[in-house]
Symmetry: C2
């Protein structure tokens, strides 16, 4: 597999993004949805900001307040034994093992480009937390274009759980809210870009508690808003690069040989790679082939080091002829892009 990482990588880093909140710093611009609109490449960026803390022993966490529509700042002392601060992303209550707060608040912001390499980031949020299901932020958007509408869906994070919510836009200015389409715990949804035998399909990634692993399921819909007939699709593989958790990545790409899904897989050490799976064109609940080795692994310095290192994580790709341009978040910090051949990917699947 020939992988061409852009020379300009990382294309966007926190230094390219002006904080939206006063006295905050941008710690990540990553895991972006991608689409084309009016001849431009549009990235729907996940931007993560956190309050600046002068005291290294104090963690300040932002929480969206639905009443004031502003952020509250909750402070923790790192010596507080009730909480575990070892994961740079979360503050976890030791008693329950569940996270209580995130160390940053994510929301979505647009970046535009004429050439797909150089992006201009908008100054204000495009989609911002707005309800009780989003008080800890919104994350990891994907964009599916169907006819003239762009459906943008993302993880909605709150102490009530992590679900997947959706908005739509026709102009990347005004948005329509469609509520939560997959209830907690669920994320990493990708909606197929057309109906298949009269139905819409989506991949999704439930995280059950009592039993079961973070694996990929498929669901169907008539209207994109309501989903059912959930079926397990593909799972973790022991002793392989995707034995820890997996989830759909880019919106499925239609090829001659089937629907090509670029998905992420992490091993038990949280090293995130990108692989692929091929689904039947007429029946996407049927698996035709799957990557044995990752297509892309964290190797470049910007993929290995950062806020949460050793992560490549794609939420979207563009296709031009035989070329896939896969945009991907690196180390939960920045955004990169790599190109590779559809034919080579398909030939590599077993």
């Amino acid at each position: 597999m020939n992988i061409y990482r852009y020379e300009e990588n990382p294309l966007l880093t926190p230094l390219d993004v002006k904080p939206y909140h006063e006295n905050f710093e941008v710690v990540g611009v990553f895991n972006a949805g991608v689409t084309e609109y009016n001849g431009e490449t549009i990235l729907v960026l996940r931007v993560a900001e956190r309050p600046i803390s002068e005291n290294p022993n104090v963690v300040k966490t932002p929480v969206y307040n639905v009443n004031t529509k502003k952020l509250d700042i909750v402070e923790f002392h790192k010596g507080d034994g009730r909480y575990d601060f070892s994961d740079s992303r979360t503050i976890t209550k030791r008693e329950s093992g569940c996270f209580s707060y995130l160390t940053s608040l994510s929301y979505l912001r647009l970046a535009r480009s004429k050439d797909g390499h150089h992006f201009t980031v908008e100054d204000t949020p495009f989609i911002y937390p707005s309800n009780i299901h989003e008080t800890l932020g919104i994350e990891d958007p994907r964009v599916t274009k169907i006819e003239d509408t762009y459906y943008i869906y993302f993880s909605a994070v709150s102490p009530l759980g992590v679900g997947e919510s959706m908005v739509s836009t026709k102009d990347f200015k005004t948005i329509k809210h469609h509520g939560m389409i997959f209830s907690p715990e669920n994320k990493d949804v990708t909606i197929f870009p057309e109906k298949i035998n009269g139905k819409y399909y989506a991949l999704h990634r439930p995280v059950p508690k009592s039993t079961g692993s973070p694996q990929v399921w498929i669901a169907e819909s008539e209207n994109l808003l309501h989903w059912g007939n959930h079926q397990f699709l593909f799972g973790l593989r022991e002793n392989m690069w995707d034995n820890g958790r997996i989830g759909a990545g880019a919106v499925p790409i239609k090829t001659d040989r089937g629907w090509l899904e670029l998905y992420h897989g992490a091993n038990k050490d949280d090293r995130y790679c990108m692989g692929a799976i091929l689904l039947d064109l007429d029946n996407p609940t049927k698996i035709l082939a799957r990557s044995e080795e990752p297509i892309l692994s964290p190797e470049a310095p910007y993929e290995v080091e950062g806020f949460f290192g050793n992560v490549v994580f794609s939420c979207g790709a563009l296709v031009e002829g035989d070329t896939i341009k896969m945009y991907y978040g690196v180390a939960d910090t920045s955004i990169a892009c790599a190109e590779f051949s559809i034919k080579e990917v398909l030939d590599s699947l077993k």
Copy 2:
């Protein structure tokens, strides 16, 4: 609150149910959905059977095999330190904290009655595991009648997770499968018996892993098969009887003052009681009132002692004038019924 427990309670016990599987014993007949059909009361029973084990140190667990369409028996020695056998219902892998097997297999069976007190149990299963999502059994059915169709939905349990699946019938002989309507982890679904402002509604109970508690959500649908616009509805209450886990119980009952939902709540010691919540008639996402004290608590000997004691758990009720006849599982072992006044319940809510 005046509660009239039937003199015949428990109405059905494991002794009333002939095992369906050879060399198995029935350990529970409980948590039944209820409806009326052809002038009879029909209970859709959850029947739990387990392989008879001669050796008290050996636990035999049944697993449905989708290829052979029979049960495989997996044996565990109680001295196997990798597993925790302390919960009578589950075999839990210590490493993950997730259950790997159940100590019995549940499936659904019908019982019929002319008077609602004395039931005749059918000899064979009505709904039996049939796919990869049901290899560890199907549990806790509810029945919603809409026009001439009875929708029966239940927990589908497998190592892939616990979700909610649905079938329908018009005659309690043939069934149509509709697949999984709520993806893992989810159970305790109750579907409202009519459209409200053009949409169907359901209560459901996700169990998220990373953050969030087992609490009640509401979703909407146009066709009963596909569900969306998930919203958190009501939650655990600290220092109260329902501070551990809650879930919808009986199918919502339409009253003059609102939709009355009889729900179960457990405290942190797994003592399950039944309470009530009242939802707006025109907008069931709006809560009008809720029980401060349980309507029914495990007090009778058959409620306190059994396979998993201190549990009253209703999956359905019938209404006659001002009287609710609430059928309920007791101690994960048997079935009981209690009657009380709708007016008294409504008056008791705060």
